[in-house]
């Protein structure tokens, strides 16, 4: 059953990669702010190509800008 040893090693390598990812994430401040990222994703609706903005999307993007100015990130 020596394949178990290999799988455990591979498993640990993969887990190690994830651990490095985790450490990097924590150290680089990824998790300093646990709230605003969840809100920020809601504000990216700049609809339409530059030449044909519908009324609705214009309104959307203005709103978004306003909120973005307030949230500062």
């Amino acid at each position: 059953m020596s394949v178990i040893i290999i799988l455990v090693i591979v498993g640990i390598i993969v887990a190690g990669i994830f651990l490095l990812g985790f450490i990097w994430a924590v150290k680089s401040g990824q998790y300093d702010d646990m709230y605003s990222p969840s809100v920020r994703i809601l504000f990216d609706d700049f609809n339409g190509t530059s030449d044909e903005n519908s009324d609705e999307s214009n309104k959307d993007s203005k709103e978004t800008e306003k909120i973005e100015n307030n949230t500062k990130f």
Partner: protein
């Protein structure tokens, strides 16, 4: 700070969506065909490429890699640029990814029905296509990683972490599980044998569920549920915690597919413990998804997209509760090899995966085509039909599973098996198979409504290829952070480099050495297959017999009574690949060749049974395999097969490959003469004789030594 303008290209998202829609229909249609073949076994008739055992991999692979795969690729190509405020790194790489992936799917559909299969579930692709999969996967990964490096938003939203985990883990699993030595362009033998091969396969198999059907869909959930409901995820902190917990736990859960097998007990226990622990992060995800909708349930009442997400996430919760339960040895003793497993996985695919895909596409298509959904009413009807279809599919199969398992285990007061004839336990659950086909039909009709609805939506709008956006460049680092700043983004590149080095270099060198050594049999009576048996085994693999017949007798009294001595690890050391199977639609065949056992059948029975099972046992649901009596073995490859097997540690003597064909023909003549004396005239080099030789060898080594 100055804002930078850039555009998102929706082209590939759109392509992936239509690929999802199209392949989804194909996957479901093939699945439905398979469901009907189980109740009308002669549906495939003499058409070899339509037989259940050959199209079942088409169904599973299409559902997993084509339907779910293209679905989450669409999600990634849509959400990643928007989350990171940058277009995807390379359009060329995106194109290669898209067309390469579709090519792989087409190649799969062109190989499985014609008997080209490695027999490892969800990894049946033959080796040249495997290489293509790895190449395309690398292109996809590099495109994703470079997009991350070029991002304008410092924070990596949780959905993207799920995408990254998907990519890293699938790459490792896929390569490790598919290590094999080619014999021809379409045939290879895995470097692992028997129980070792089984462990690697289910380590892969379970993680395919974890990292192909779960993590990317959770990423989808974390992006699309907040977007559609227009409210942030319930707890961002919980999403981070459950992400890390999930990926650290999942990779160890594979052995729960091999409970009560010849796998060492401690490895089984490891699998069980980790599987049970998985409830916590899985339910963390489910709760987080559902609670995002707190205060928005009025929207759920109106919006078919949210309805689908709710059922999807609920189904995820159900199947991730059921999974750990099925991993408990006591439950598994009952559930394993029955339709319970099929019910379980379909709650996952029809409920979780498909509903998330449907919901996402219902939401994205109107957005991409700048219009409203063609018919909300029709989408609601689809929602209800799909939900009912899923329940009609799974609930009967739960009953089928319990019923059949209990019948297998039932003893009479005198201590004999209450249902010694396996077929009795099959006919008992046939009504459930009818209901399953009905549920599947409902679900399929729902999918057709979906196609019509999305098609009409797209037709009434006009495709918006580019969307402009603007964002500040990535924030400058703190001076004290600048050391990290330089490394930022690079750990991912290191990941890739490390993976390539480790996998291609290290493992390929080390693993075969290790394995060949440990393939030395612990049971001296176990001998390599004769050339004819080896040919028969390859046909058994190619036809997909393992999909309905296990070769793994568990150490329970009812199984040893029915099938003989339980399977030992040492008996499987020459099995490249292993053939344990995971479902008993028909009886176990691990000891099919042992003459003293109650289920032993003579050569002529096997011949007639494979040509037309219903002639032999009228109620059987096994399809016919008449082409086995027409197709011929390619003797020119036999010596190569022997040579490769020897490389893998099977002790054929040096130079045996030159004598192999003669040996094969001698054994062939013996069986053919035997058949002739029973009135069956079989020509030269027919596959069916090789198959009979293999079946009659199964499980005999241990018995003969007694």
């Amino acid at each position: 700070m100055e804002l930078q303008k850039f555009t998102y290209d929706n082209r590939l998202t759109n392509f992936f969506i239509w690929a999802t829609v199209g392949w989804g229909v194909v996957a479901m249609l093939v699945g439905l065909t398979a469901a009907f073949e189980l109740i009308f076994p002669n549906m495939s008739g003499e058409i070899s490429w339509l037989v259940f055992s050959r199209i079942r991999p088409v169904h599973t692979n299409a559902a997993i890699f084509a339907f779910v795969g293209n679905g989450f690729f669409a999600a990634i190509y849509y959400s990643m640029p928007r989350l990171l405020k940058t277009p995807m790194f390379s359009k060329a790489m995106g194109n290669i990814h898209f067309w390469g992936w579709q090519l792989i799917i087409v190649l799969a559909a062109l190989t499985y029905p014609f008997g080209f299969s490695q027999s490892k579930e969800y990894a049946e692709l033959i080796w040249p296509i495997d290489i293509l999969v790895v190449l395309i996967w690398v292109v996809f990964g590099l495109n994703m990683i470079m997009t991350l490096v070029k991002r304008r938003v410092k924070h990596i939203y949780v959905a993207i972490w799920f995408y990254i985990a998907t990519w890293v883990t699938i790459a490792v699993l896929y390569i490790v599980n598919n290590l094999a030595i080619p014999v021809t362009w379409t045939l290879s033998y895995p470097i692992y044998a028997g129980i070792q091969d089984a462990l690697v396969q289910w380590w892969y198999g379970h993680n395919a569920v974890a990292f192909f059907l779960t993590t990317p869909i959770l990423g989808m959930m974390y992006y699309f549920i907040p977007k559609v409901a227009n409210r942030p995820i319930y707890s961002y902190k919980l999403s981070i915690i459950h992400f890390w917990a999930l990926i650290f736990l999942y990779i160890w859960a594979g052995p729960h597919h091999l409970l009560y097998s010849a796998l060492p007990d401690w490895a089984q226990a490891l699998g069980v413990v980790f599987s049970v622990m998985l409830i916590a992060p899985s339910w963390g995800g489910m709760i987080n998804g559902l609670l995002t909708l707190r205060g928005a349930w009025d929207k759920v009442r109106e919006d078919p997209v949210l309805k689908m997400f709710v059922v999807g996430v609920t189904a995820y919760g159900m199947s991730t509760f059921e999974g750990p339960m099925l991993s408990l040895k006591t439950v598994n003793a009952l559930s394993h090899f029955t339709d319970w497993t099929i019910a379980h996985v379909h709650i996952g695919t029809l409920g979780w995966n498909a509903m998330m895909n449907f919901g996402m596409i219902y939401w994205l298509i109107p957005k991409l085509f700048k219009t409203k959904l063609f018919s909300v009413k029709l989408a609601n009807i689809h929602f209800w039909i799909a939900t009912l279809g899923m329940l009609f599919f799974s609930i009967p199969l739960y009953f089928a599973g319990f019923t059949q398992a209990l019948m297998w285990k039932e003893f009479t007061a005198e201590g004999f098996l209450a249902y010694p004839n396996f077929l009795e336990t099959v006919t008992q659950i046939l009504p459930m198979y009818y209901l399953r086909a009905f549920g599947g039909t409902l679900y399929f009709i729902g999918a057709l409504l979906f196609v019509y609805n999305v098609w009409k939506t797209a037709a009434q709008g006009s495709f918006m290829r580019y969307e402009s956006d603007e964002a500040a460049p990535k924030a400058l680092p703190n001076p004290k952070e600048s050391g990290h700043r330089k490394l930022e983004g690079r750990p991912l590149q290191f990941t890739v480099a490390a993976l390539v080095v480790i996998l291609i270099g290290g493992l390929v060198e080390i693993i075969p050495m290790y394995l060949v050594k440990s393939n030395i049999p612990t049971i001296s009576a176990v001998k390599p297959y004769t050339p004819l048996e080896l040919e028969g085994r390859d046909i058994y693999v190619a036809e997909g017999c393992y999909l309905c017949h296990s070769q793994m007798i568990r150490p329970f009294r009812n199984e040893t009574e029915r099938y003989g001595e339980y399977t030992k690890a040492g008996e499987t050391v020459y099995d490249h690949p292993f053939q344990f199977g995971s479902k008993r639609t028909g009886p176990d065949l691990a000891r099919a060749g042992v003459k003293t056992l109650p289920n032993y059948k003579p050569d002529s029975w096997h011949y007639n049974h494979m040509i037309n099972p219903q002639k032999v046992s009228p109620e059987s649901i096994m399809p016919q395999y008449p082409w086995l009596a027409d197709n011929e073995i390619d003797l020119s490859v036999t010596p190569d097969k022997i040579r490769v097997m020897r490389t893998l540690g099977v002790p054929y003597p040096e130079g045996y490959e030159d004598k192999a064909v003669a040996d094969l023909q001698a054994q062939y003549a013996e069986i053919a003469n035997g058949l002739r004396s029973s009135g069956i005239d079989v020509g030269d080099n027919k596959e069916i004789v090789a198959m009979i030789a293999y079946l009659q060898r199964l499980g005999t080594d241990v018995y003969n030594s007694k």
